[in-house]
Amino acid sequence: MTILRHKWQVRLVHWITALSIFLLFFTGFGQMPVYKRYMVDQLPGLSWSSNYASTLHLHYYAAMVLIFISTYYLLYLVLTRETDILPRKGDFKETMIIFLSMVGLAREPENNKYLAEQRLAFAVTAFSVAALIITGLIKVLKNLPGSSVPLPVSFWATQVHNIFTVILLVSVVAHLLAFLIKDNRSLFPSMFTGRISLDYARHRHSLWIKGMQSDDELGDK
């Protein structure tokens, strides 16, 4: 028997965000003079990577997709009030306990739909994306003909954009490394199907299951 953990809207948001951020990373790093220097543009199919115009255009398109899906998700959260993913008081402490439990030094606490560390990781990622979008839009304004965004503004927008790129990259890598932990792997298929096994949910997300008001929200298989 399975239970729905991610609605199709959430899955859509996840994958479109992932795809656009991957493209933004690649084309964003292409805005640094790196692909020619490190000869990435000599790899098959990547000759375009050292062309600043090509990577800039792709960066803009991918940014539009990210802004589209971020706005979508923001309004989705506001309207549905699905707050399970948002951080709560005590999450930091609970995250420490979860980390200790990974190395056998503590017992994993009872979890809700998301683990405390997942809620914190979401907050870091969402904040980074928001900072990148805002500073990115300032950079778009700066590139417009006739615009005169003051140097301190464009300078700091650039620095903040670069810093949050690194923070986001680290959080994406950490997100992927989470699959090194065996207990997390059962969640992977749910990013496609939306569903996880009810037994697993009872074991790992007991508070979520207990909190459900009726069996209506449980799957039938």
Binding site: T2, L4, K7, W8, Q9, Q31, M32, P33, V34, K36, R37, Y38, M39, Y52, A53, L56, H57, Y60, Y61, A63, M64, V65, I67, F68, I69, S70, T71, Y72, Y73, L74, L75, Y76, V78, L79, T80, R81, L137, V140, L141, N143, L144, P145, G146, S147, S148, V149, L151, S154, F155, A157, T158, Q159, N162, G194, R195, D216, E217, G219, D220, K221
Partner: protein
């Protein structure tokens, strides 16, 4: 968790109010971005004789003297740009005055230009044109290259990492790189960075004091002029009309703060440069006519940035409406 239609409308209204406050704030911020009071220069090729009476044209000498304190002093030995086996070092060629280098920010191209069956001796002073919408400044990954309100485009040598992107995105490849100097030495000089980029800064310190750039002041033939950009443009346009002459820099790369005047077409001058001057390396720029600014297309795309959030809001509104009114319920029983 089936929601009522009324609930949906209430929540949507609150979200709409918050969004409109944000958008109006952004609109006010962007409306404040505007400036004028720019300077520009004239380079009149009908007056420039290339200072053939002296070894180094006077504008070039004046520029070198004026800026020699700012020339790079590299630390040696200089490492290659790993994984490549080269680096750009002009420190042993500081005397070169027949191309742009980190030690020579302006030079004169001496050309024989064919036009309508005649050969014209044309001398073309070359340096940064100080574009209106400079890709070198807009796209600097470190944000240390700036278009000043007075017109000059200035690279901050203290923040430059020497990736040479500014040179790659400049239609004339004007900025020149010197390895072994600058910020990158403090990080991992073998693996990242390449030095500092150097070019004309329109003698920014002088124009702030109400003076003309050094090259303009020493020109004995009035081939170089300097003034308020509106006046300079007006003069250039009038000159072109009165003399059936040609302009360069007015529209190139989306407009610049430099107006070249010539009695022979710049297409012919460009061809002469390509045939007689260039050596396949940056520092001996051509004059491609009507070249467009690589930021024009992104500027067109920028409008679509307004559509993206609107589409996101619409999409979210529709899909949440389905969830809240129960139309999306099938998702719950999906296997």
């Amino acid at each position: 968790m089936s929601m009522s239609r009324r609930n949906f409308i209430k929540r949507a209204a609150i979200a709409g109010l918050a969004a409109s406050v944000t958008v109006s704030g952004a609109a006010k911020a962007s409306a404040a971005l505007n400036s004028s009071d720019e300077y520009a220069s004239i380079i009149d090729l009908t007056h420039c004789d290339g200072c053939r009476d002296v070894d180094i044209p006077r504008c070039v000498s004046a520029c070198r003297t004026r800026n020699e304190d700012r020339f790079p002093q590299p630390e040696k030995p200089i490492q290659d740009y790993w994984p490549q086996t080269k680096h750009e070092d002009w420190s042993d060629k500081q005397d070169l005055t027949d191309r742009l280098t980190p030690y020579n920010w302006t030079y004169v191209q001496h050309l024989q230009v064919e036009h309508e069956g005649q050969t014209h001796a044309i001398h073309v002073p070359r340096r940064c044109l100080h574009c209106d919408n400079p890709p070198c400044a807009s796209l600097c990954p470190f944000g240390v290259n700036e278009k000043m309100p007075q017109g000059p485009v200035i690279i901050n040598p203290d923040g430059c990492f020497g990736g040479a992107k500014c040179r790659d995105v400049c239609p004339w490849e004007i900025p020149q790189r010197q390895a072994g100097v600058g910020l990158y030495l403090k990080a991992a000089p073998k693996y990242a960075g390449g030095g500092v980029m150097y070019k004309c800064d329109m003698c920014y310190d002088l124009i702030q004091q109400g003076q003309k750039p050094a090259c303009v002041s020493v020109c004995p033939n009035n081939a170089l002029g300097f003034g308020k950009k509106d006046d300079i443009r007006q003069y250039a346009l009038q000159w072109a009309r009165d003399n059936q002459g040609y302009l360069y820099g007015e529209t190139e790369n989306g407009g610049t703060s430099t107006f070249y005047l010539s009695s022979v077409p710049f297409a012919a001058i460009h061809q002469a440069i390509m045939e007689q001057e260039t050596d396949g390396k940056p520092g001996k720029p051509g004059m491609p006519v009507g070249i467009s600014n690589m930021l024009n297309e992104p500027a067109g795309m920028a409008k679509a940035f307004l559509l993206a959030p609107a589409a996101g809001l619409l999409g979210a509104g529709l899909s949440v409406y389905k969830i809240m009114t129960g139309a999306d319920e099938h998702d719950y029983s999906e296997a």
